[in-house]
C-alpha cells in the first residue's frame, strides 16, 4: 500500500518537474535537437534520481508484519518494492516519449525512430537507478540514499572518464549528450544491464530469507 502511494507521489513529482524543465527549455532559444537532448538529460539524470530516492525512502521503511509469522523476507521485499521497480522505469519511458513529442512536435519525421531508440535507454536508466537505490538503502539505510543521490547529482554530472563508474555517464553517452566515452554506445547499454544485475544481486543478497 505504502509502495503504491510512494510510487504515485514520485511519478506525480517527476511529471511536474519534467514538465516544468521541458517548458523552461522549450521557451529558450536553441535548436529542437538541443532542447530535446537537454530535456531528456534533465529527466534521466536529475529529476529521475530525485524521484527514485524519494520513492525508495518512502516505501523502504515499511515493515511487513507477516515476516514475524514466517513470511520469506525476500518475497516480502520483492512484493513491497515491486511496484516501484516496475512503475518508475515505465514512467520514465512514458515521460521520455512525452518529452520527445513535446520538443520535436508530433509531425517530426524522425520522431518514431527517436522514440524507439530512447525508450530502452530510459527504461534501463530507471531500472539501474531504482535497483541501485534499493540496494544502497538495504545496506546503508537512509543515509546511504542521500549519499548516493548527492554523488549522482554532483560527480555523476561531470564529464570525467571516472564518472563512467556511475550509470549517469552511460545514460549521457547513450543519449549523445556531453563528452563521449571512448567506447561504443552498445557497451554503455551493457553497462546499464550490468549495474541493474549487480544492484539486484546486492539487494537480494543483503535481505535474509
Amino acid at each position: 500500500m505504502k509502495a503504491r502511494r510512494a510510487l504515485t507521489r514520485a511519478v506525480f513529482g517527476l511529471t511536474l518537474l519534467t514538465g516544468a524543465a521541458t517548458f523552461g527549455l522549450s521557451v529558450d532559444d536553441g535548436s529542437r535537437q538541443e532542447t530535446t537532448d537537454r530535456a531528456l538529460s534533465v529527466l534521466l539524470l536529475t529529476t529521475l534520481p530525485l524521484a527514485v530516492c524519494f520513492a525508495v525512502w518512502s516505501a523502504g521503511k515499511t515493515e511487513d508484519q507477516l515476516i514475524a509469522f514466517g513470511q520469506n523476507r525476500r518475497k516480502s521485499s520483492l512484493s513491497r518494492l515491486g511496484p516501484l521497480l516496475l512503475g518508475l522505469p515505465l514512467s520514465a519511458v512514458v515521460l521520455s516519449a512525452a518529452v520527445l513529442v513535446w520538443t520535436r512536435g508530433p509531425h517530426d519525421p524522425s520522431l518514431a525512430v527517436d522514440l524507439v531508440s530512447t525508450a530502452p535507454v530510459a527504461l534501463m536508466a530507471a531500472a539501474a537507478l531504482c535497483l541501485s537505490f534499493v540496494a544502497i538503502f538495504e545496506w546503508f539505510g537512509s543515509l546511504g540514499l542521500l549519499v548516493l543521490l548527492l554523488v549522482l547529482l554532483t560527480f555523476g554530472q561531470t564529464e570525467l572518464l571516472a564518472a563512467a563508474a556511475l550509470p549517469s555517464a552511460h545514460v549521457r553517452h547513450l543519449l549523445g549528450v556531453g563528452a563521449t566515452l571512448p567506447f561504443d554506445p552498445g557497451w554503455s547499454m551493457a553497462a546499464l544491464w550490468l549495474y541493474s544485475a549487480l544492484a539486484g544481486w546486492a539487494w537480494l543478497g543483503r535481505v535474509r530469507p
Binding site: 515493515e63 511487513d64 507477516l66 514475524a68 509469522f69 514466517g70 520469506n72 530469507p209
Partner: protein, 293 residues
C-alpha cells in the same frame, strides 16, 4: 530449545547506555528488566529475527531466526508492530494470514484468549484504540499453540481477569517447553511475569533490609512462601477493608515474586507493590508486618 542472545547491542537511543546483552534463556518464564520502551521493542524485534542488531547475535536452538522463516513462524511476539497494511479489512484477517503462514511451517493456531470482543475484531486495525491494538498483538502472539519462544516487548496491562488468562497461557507455553520472555520496566512486574528475572544493569540484589509494601484491596488469607533469606508471612486478614502489608527481607526480587504469587494464588487484589527503603518503611503505619532476618 534455548534462546541465546550473545553480546547484543541495539541501535535504540535508550539502549546506548546499556552494556551488550548476553543471556542464555532456557524453557520457562523469564522477566527481563529494561527501562527504555524503545530498547524493549527493538530487542524484541532482534530476538525474534525481525531486525538486525547493531552487534552480537541471536540463536534460537542454534539457528539465527533472522534468516530462518520457519523459526520465526514458531515465535509469538509483541513488538509494537504496525498492522495497518491491510487498510480497511477487518483486524481478524491478520489471524487468518498468520495462521496460514504458521501452518506452512508446522505451527498450529490455538484458541484466542478473548482479550478483544469479536465485534472489535471486525474493525480495521487502525480504528482500534491503543490499548486494543496492544491486546490484538498479544492475541496474535499467544494464539500460536506450539511456539519455540514467546517474547512480549511490554508487560501486558490488562484487567485482572484478562491478565490471569494471559499469565496462565504464558505458563502453559513455558510448561510445553517454550522460552517465554516478558520485558518489564519495573521489578514488581518482573516478579509477576517471570520465574527467572534478568537485569541488564548491575543491581544490588542482596541489599540487606529491603522492605516490600503490599497494598491489598480485597484481602483474604495471604501467605507468602518466601525462600532463602527472605521473610515468611502467613496471616488471616479482614476481607472488608484494604490492608497494607510490609514484608521485609534481603532479596527484593525474591520478595516481590513470592508476594505476587501468594496474592495471585489466593485471588487477593494486589493494587500496589512498592519497594521501600527501610527508613521510609519504618515511618509508615502498617497493619501487618512480617520481619525478615
Amino acid at each position: 530449545m534455548n534462546l541465546l542472545l550473545d553480546g547484543v547491542v541495539l541501535h535504540a537511543l535508550g539502549a546506548r547506555a546499556m552494556p551488550p546483552l548476553t543471556f542464555d534463556l532456557g524453557p520457562g518464564t523469564h522477566a527481563l528488566c529494561l527501562e527504555s520502551g524503545e530498547a524493549a521493542a527493538e530487542l524484541a524485534r532482534v530476538a525474534c529475527g525481525l531486525a538486525r542488531a547493531k552487534r552480537g547475535r541471536v540463536l534460537l536452538g542454534g539457528d539465527d531466526p533472522l534468516g530462518r522463516p520457519a523459526l520465526r513462524a514458531r515465535i509469538g511476539s509483541t513488538h509494537g508492530g504496525d498492522f495497518s497494511a491491510l487498510g480497511g479489512k477487518p483486524a481478524r484477517t491478520w489471524f487468518e494470514r498468520a495462521h496460514a503462514l504458521r501452518a506452512s511451517h508446522g505451527g498450529t493456531q490455538g484458541e484466542l484468549l478473548g482479550l478483544l470482543s469479536p465485534e472489535r475484531l471486525e474493525l480495521p486495525w487502525h480504528e482500534l484504540s491503543l490499548a486494543e491494538r496492544r491486546a490484538f498483538e498479544l492475541e496474535l502472539a499467544l494464539s500460536l499453540e506450539n511456539p519455540h519462544a514467546v517474547w512480549l516487548s511490554q508487560a501486558p496491562r490488562l484487567a485482572p481477569e484478562a491478565l490471569d488468562r494471559v499469565l496462565l497461557r504464558l505458563r502453559q507455553r513455558a510448561a510445553d517447553g517454550a522460552v517465554v520472555v516478558v520485558t518489564v520496566s519495573a521489578e514488581r512486574e518482573a516478579a509477576l511475569f517471570g520465574d527467572n528475572v534478568h537485569l541488564p544493569r548491575l543491581v544490588r540484589r542482596d541489599a540487606p533490609g529491603v522492605t516490600v509494601q503490599l497494598v491489598v484491596e480485597r484481602p483474604r488469607e495471604v501467605a507468602a512462601e518466601l525462600q532463602g533469606d527472605a521473610a515468611v508471612l502467613s496471616t488471616q486478614l479482614d476481607p472488608s477493608r484494604p490492608t497494607v502489608l510490609l514484608v521485609r527481607g534481603t532479596d527484593q526480587l525474591a520478595l516481590c515474586r513470592a508476594c505476587s504469587r501468594a496474592a495471585l494464588a489466593r485471588r487477593c487484589e494486589l493494587s500496589e507493590m512498592v519497594l521501600l527503603p527501610l527508613a521510609q518503611a519504618a515511618r509508615r503505619g502498617s497493619e501487618a508486618v512480617a520481619g525478615g532476618p
